[in-house]
């Protein structure tokens, strides 16, 4: 019989190991217009781990990613990212940290006045001192990873929703960041396109082993990620043999009413007795 899931309180990191983890949330709370969205949540993302954050609409999933990037400041609590306390950093200090993090936004958030090439190369161009020729290779590589090389001269408005999402992934991975944040990458997409996006995320996870936080309101996406691996020879996603662990540790974090009600792996999740969780996984 599997061990019971670790109590959430036991997972709260102490000061000493805060720097050893990639992302650490300690009793973080935030409210919008006096409505609490996150109420003292704590969790950590270990190096190389992928953590899927699940919750219903308005449960504060996207807020966690924005807090991680320092785009929002919490009302209380501490957030350590790559050893830095983002809650104490000023905006100009955060820009350096953000260059080590890639984020895929909910609706892609591609710059609509720029071409796909300029969007994907945005970070390289902003870091300066690179010519048009020098950006061509990494742009082609990133677009080739998401299998969209032929869209390089198109504008985002000429692409479908799924293609925009793939360009957003290419833009996030072009500099090989240390952390990747995905905000509902399959939101609003049809099932076939959703699977394509999940396959790309699994490919990214297994090929580059980047530590990732993935927000989703579709638990089946997270389960698919936990039960599949990327076969590099066949260049496609395949199911893991029953009981076999994936190459990269995969964890789940479930939010409800602003609190973390589950933090553990797929096996622990399947064993959970929580009625709310059972309702979603059954």
């Amino acid at each position: 019989m599997a061990a019971p899931p670790t109590a959430i309180e036991q997972r709260v990191p102490n000061e000493a190991d805060a720097a050893a983890n990639i992302v650490v949330f300690e009793n973080v709370s935030i409210a919008f217009e006096d409505k609490p969205v996150l109420d003292g949540i704590s969790f950590r993302l270990a190096k190389g781990e992928t953590k899927a954050i699940f919750g219903v609409a308005g449960s504060g999933k996207s807020t966690i990613l924005k807090l991680t990037l320092g785009l929002l400041k919490p009302d209380a609590g501490k957030i350590h990212v790559l050893g830095d306390d983002v809650t104490q950093m000023r905006e100009n200090e955060l820009f350096d940290l953000r260059r080590k993090i890639g984020m895929v936004f909910q609706e892609s958030a591609l710059f609509d006045s720029l071409t796909v090439r300029e969007n994907v190369a945005f970070r390289l161009l902003e870091e300066g001192n690179v010519s048009e020729d020098e950006i061509e290779k990494p742009v082609r590589e990133a677009l080739s990873f998401v299998e969209l090389e032929d869209t390089v001269d198109k504008f985002p408005s000429e692409l479908s929703g799924g293609m925009r999402r793939r360009v957003a992934i290419a833009r996030a991975i072009i500099t090989h960041p240390e952390i990747l944040l995905y905000d509902s990458p399959t939101g609003g997409l049809d099932p076939v396109t959703s699977t394509t996006i999940i396959q790309l995320i699994v490919k990214q996870r297994d090929v580059y082993k980047t530590s990732s936080l993935l927000v989703t309101h579709r638990l089946q996406d997270a389960f698919m990620m936990a039960t599949h691996y990327f076969d590099r020879k066949a260049n496609e996603m395949r199911p893991l043999p029953p009981g076999a662990p994936g190459e990269v540790p995969m964890a789940f974090l479930i939010l409800r009413d602003g609190k973390v009600i589950f933090d553990g792996d797929a096996h622990e999740l399947a064993q959970s007795k929580d009625e709310y969780i059972r309702e979603y996984i059954s």
């Binding site: 924005k66 990037l69 785009l71 905006e91 100009n92 820009f95 350096d96 953000r98 260059r99 993090i101 984020m103 936004f105 909910q106 609706e107 958030a109 591609l110 710059f111 609509d112 945005f122 970070r123 902003e126 870091e127 300066g128 833009r171």
Partner: protein, 259 residues
């Protein structure tokens, strides 16, 4: 929802504070790396060259209308020959900068608010910050610099076309001598007139860009919020231009111990 005077005052003070911060940062960024010269030139083209047709048309019309309306009064006193002086002083000191400022506010403050507002609601501003780029440096400062710079030259063009419009009315409708019109128009102007007329667009340009960017960057609530931000940007920048004009005029008159 019930109206709360305390909340209203708090929100107003907060807005003034946020606007002041944005305006201050837009200037401070000029002294910080990176500087976006390519974006400045692109914005200068959009704001300056793009506004040229409306500035040409309004400048020409205002000058002609000023001549047309004042001719009647001047004729009664047998002073029709002074029409060039009247148009010249009126256009250079006051109407040129004000009309150009209001036209550019209508065109560009709204454009900036809607463009930046759309970027906010589609998370493009957040994406820019997430990619390690400061939107204040990349988007706001180039717009402020370009608007201040281009409005200065647009005002000169407007002044000249206003004078030209006045000359067309004077020559073709009132049979004044062309040379006499331009001589009197030129000779009446003193340094203070020109200085006053060219200082104002610097203030107006700053108001247009900072107000447009402020309402854009603070847009909330989807497409409806963008529409609201656009309207507010035009109204606020127009009102502020007229108010600041009054104070700048009075201040410069006091400085120059002016007539």
């Amino acid at each position: 929802m019930e109206f709360s005077p305390t909340e209203f005052v708090k929100e107003t003070v907060q807005s003034v504070q946020d606007y002041s911060l944005l305006a201050g940062r837009s200037v401070a960024n000029l002294f910080l790396q990176p500087r976006y010269f390519a974006d400045m030139i692109q914005q200068a083209d959009l704001i300056g060259f793009g506004s040229l047709p409306i500035v040409v048309l309004t400048g020409l019309s205002i000058g002609a209308e000023l001549a047309l309306n004042s001719a009647n009064t001047l004729q009664r006193f047998g002073s029709l020959s002074l029409i060039g002086q009247l148009v010249s002083v009126g256009m250079v000191r006051e109407l040129g900068p004000i009309i150009t400022g209001l036209m550019v506010a209508g065109r560009n403050a709204s454009g900036m608010a809607s463009e930046l507002g759309s970027m906010v609601v589609t998370e493009q501003i957040d994406a820019m910050r997430a990619l390690g780029t400061d939107p204040m440096k990349k988007l706001v400062t180039p717009r402020v610099v370009s608007t201040v710079f281009m409005l200065f030259f647009l005002t000169i063009i407007s002044d000249l076309l206003g004078l030209f419009g006045g000359s067309l009315v004077s020559v073709f409708l009132f049979r004044l001598d062309w040379r006499q019109y331009w001589n009197t128009a030129y000779q009446i102007l003193v340094f203070q007139d020109v200085f006053m007329g060219l200082v104002k667009p610097l203030f107006f340009g700053f108001i247009i860009a900072t107000i447009g960017c402020y309402y854009g960057m603070t847009a909330r609530g989807g497409t409806q919020g963008v529409g609201r931000a656009t309207t507010q940007a035009v109204v606020a920048s127009s009102v502020l231009i007229l108010t600041v004009d009054l104070f700048v005029t009075k201040f410069l008159m006091a400085v120059f111990a002016y007539r």
